[in-house]
């Protein structure tokens, strides 16, 4: 794993150059470069940290300090589908807890865990800014709003 990680290279160098060219200094490109690495790899590997550190002229340890701060950057591989259930008040008042429990039972995973087939990771997340259409579940990049359990089941069938 580690040696594979250390060899990280961006597949789209033009995108990297484009990102760097948009900012007055290279370090400001840190977040977009990390997003790009994660989109390619599914998580931020040690190799990706080293690559981004080099591009942004920071020390890898300094970059790690940044990466570990943000909940959207994953330091280890995640399931193919990240089921991110909002648990903050408006969603909680509208059945978010039932959704977490349902997913937990369905795939035998606790929040933070990935199903044995590597497909689903259950995550409890904080307010997704979709309180008017609670409860909301974000699956990878997409919001699914006002979800009922049958609707969720249908959705999960379709992504299998």
């Amino acid at each position: 794993m580690e040696s594979k990680g250390k060899l990280f290279q961006y597949t789209d160098n033009k995108k990297v150059e484009n990102i760097l060219s948009q900012y007055p200094d290279n370090r400001s490109a840190t977040l977009p470069l990390l997003h790009l690495a994660q989109a390619q790899l599914g998580y931020i590997s040690t190799g990706a940290i080293n690559a981004v550190a080099k591009l942004t002229e920071t020390h890898p340890a300094e970059l790690m300090d940044c990466v570990s701060f943000y909940s959207m950057f994953y330091l280890c591989p995640q399931g193919k589908y990240k089921l991110q259930v909002c648990q903050t008040l408006s969603c909680s008042l509208n059945g978010a807890d039932n959704i977490v429990e349902h997913i937990s039972k369905k795939y035998k995973i606790k929040p933070g865990e990935t199903s044995t087939d590597g497909k689903f990771t259950l995550m409890k997340v904080e307010c997704l800014g979709s309180c008017g259409t609670a409860p909301v579940v974000q699956i990878n990049n997409d919001y699914h709003e006002g979800l009922t359990i049958p609707e969720l089941d249908e959705l999960l069938e379709n992504v299998q």
Partner: protein, 432 residues
């Protein structure tokens, strides 16, 4: 009830309302043309005269904020559009970006022109992936129509806009944390002063404005400061997007004039309490505002000053409604947990205090509170957010307002629903 007609959300139900063609067909970018024909100073004066106050949460006067930028500075100046909407109960900027992105962009170009900015950023929360795609399309169209780039509409003014995605940190909505994050660091708020207008992004003068604030600007330029001032309370006028969520029949974003009675929002616009229930308590301005009891909520207007008088705040105008079935200790724990998760960890009172609040409230929810817990909850909130005495202004124990943002709501829960917290104390303790 007033005859208010939506201004910012007038067209959001129409097909393709997010596109450039649609926006232009409704007279879009005429305010920009007008602004570009004025001097930047005159635009700032117009916005100052409108009494527009920031829609992100703090309610700072927008024109005044711009005027702090030193015009003679030889450093580049930056405008940052704060689209990091993360305050629980708030989902209005997302609507504006989805449905009326060009209105926001026009506001951005006007603001950038006023402060002499040539590179501007939209800091959008990382989870808003779909909205990010919409903004990318918006920026592409704007370059194509010479609304961005060099010599905008033959005015000689240049502006580039970069979309910058956050990565899941509530604190990055605080403007100095946002700047740190934009610079590629963890989002730790900075000690102020210096304020961003003097030393912001990369130590250059920087203005950070919220999506909704910027979206107001085209209308102010088009229809004048006087018109804007005539909408709602004079000291904080204009249209406002109120998000109503929680246990109501018809949750959503409602555009109303500032100062609308809270009861109208809950019982008229949002269709009243779910399942014919009774109102118990409300967050009037996002989860960082002190909660109001049903009685207080029935008698308050959604106005900066009136809510301050009630020892709460208008904040982000995110109204979270709780009906009589909601357990106040659990609701308080939910909010405390949010803040414990989102505390950036820089200041000890906040980092440790939020963790302790969660531990104590968790044991109380399980009926294992002790008789000292109520006093201790007050002690901890005082230690995080200072003694809450608005008249003495005695707050501010942390670098940023996050401390107060957790202390105020938690304390308001305990003060206003003390009975429910007392019930969580172990029976033998009560007897003893």
């Amino acid at each position: 009830m007033s005859e208010f007609k939506p201004i910012l959300t007038e067209f959001i139900d129409q097909k393709n309302c997010h596109t450039f063609d649609f926006y232009e067909s409704k007279g879009g970018y005429s305010a920009l043309k007008k602004a570009l024909s004025m001097s930047p100073e005159d635009v700032i004066e117009e916005v100052k005269a409108s009494n527009l106050r920031g829609r992100g949460g703090a309610g700072f006067p927008t024109g005044l904020k711009w005027s702090f930028v030193p015009p003679d500075s030889d450093k580049p100046k930056y405008l940052i559009n704060n689209a990091d909407e993360s305050e629980p109960g708030t989902f209005k900027d997302r609507l504006l970006m989805n449905k009326a992105p060009h209105q926001m962009l026009e506001g951005m170009i006007i603001a950038a022109y006023s402060i002499g900015c040539h590179t501007s950023f939209i800091y959008i929360r990382g989870e808003f992936y779909k909205e990010c795609r919409i903004l990318e399309e918006m920026i592409g169209d704007a370059y194509e129509h010479n609304l961005l780039g060099k010599n905008i509409l033959d005015s000689g003014f240049n502006l580039d806009i970069v979309i910058h995605r956050g990565a899941g940190a509530y604190i990055c909505g605080e403007e100095t944390a946002l700047l740190e994050s934009l610079e590629g660091k963890r989002g730790w708020p900075r000690i102020k002063p210096p304020f961003p207008a003097i030393e912001g992004y990369l130590k250059s003068p920087t203005v950070v404005n919220n999506v909704e604030t910027l979206s107001c600007l085209p209308h102010i330029l088009n229809r004048g400061a006087e018109w804007f001032r005539s909408i709602g309370p004079k000291k904080g006028p204009g249209p406002r997007l109120f998000g109503v969520s929680g246990t109501v029949n018809n949750p959503g974003v409602f555009e109303e004039e500032m100062g609308i009675p809270l009861k109208d929002l809950i019982f008229d616009r949002a269709g009243g309490i779910s399942n014919g229930g009774k109102l118990k308590a409300v967050f009037p301005g996002g989860s960082s505002s002190a909660i109001l009891t049903a009685e207080e909520a029935m008698d308050v207007r959604m106005d900066f000053d009136e809510l301050s008088e009630k020892k709460s705040m208008l904040g982000s105008a995110g109204v979270i409604v709780m009906d009589e079935t909601v357990n106040m200790v659990q609701a308080c724990l939910n909010i405390a947990r949010f803040y414990a998760h989102e505390s950036c960890g820089q200041c000890t009172p906040c980092r440790e205090g939020t963790t302790w609040l969660v531990k104590m409230l968790t044991r109380m929810v399980h009926g294992k509170g002790t008789s000292k817990d109520i006093d201790m909850l007050f002690e901890i909130t005082d230690n995080i957010g200072g003694l809450i005495d608005f008249s003495k202004g005695s707050y501010g124990k942390t670098i940023c307002p996050f401390g107060e943002a957790v202390a105020w709501p938690v304390r308001s829960f305990v003060e206003k629903f003390k009975d429910e917290f007392l019930q969580c104390i172990m029976k033998e303790e009560v007897v003893a």
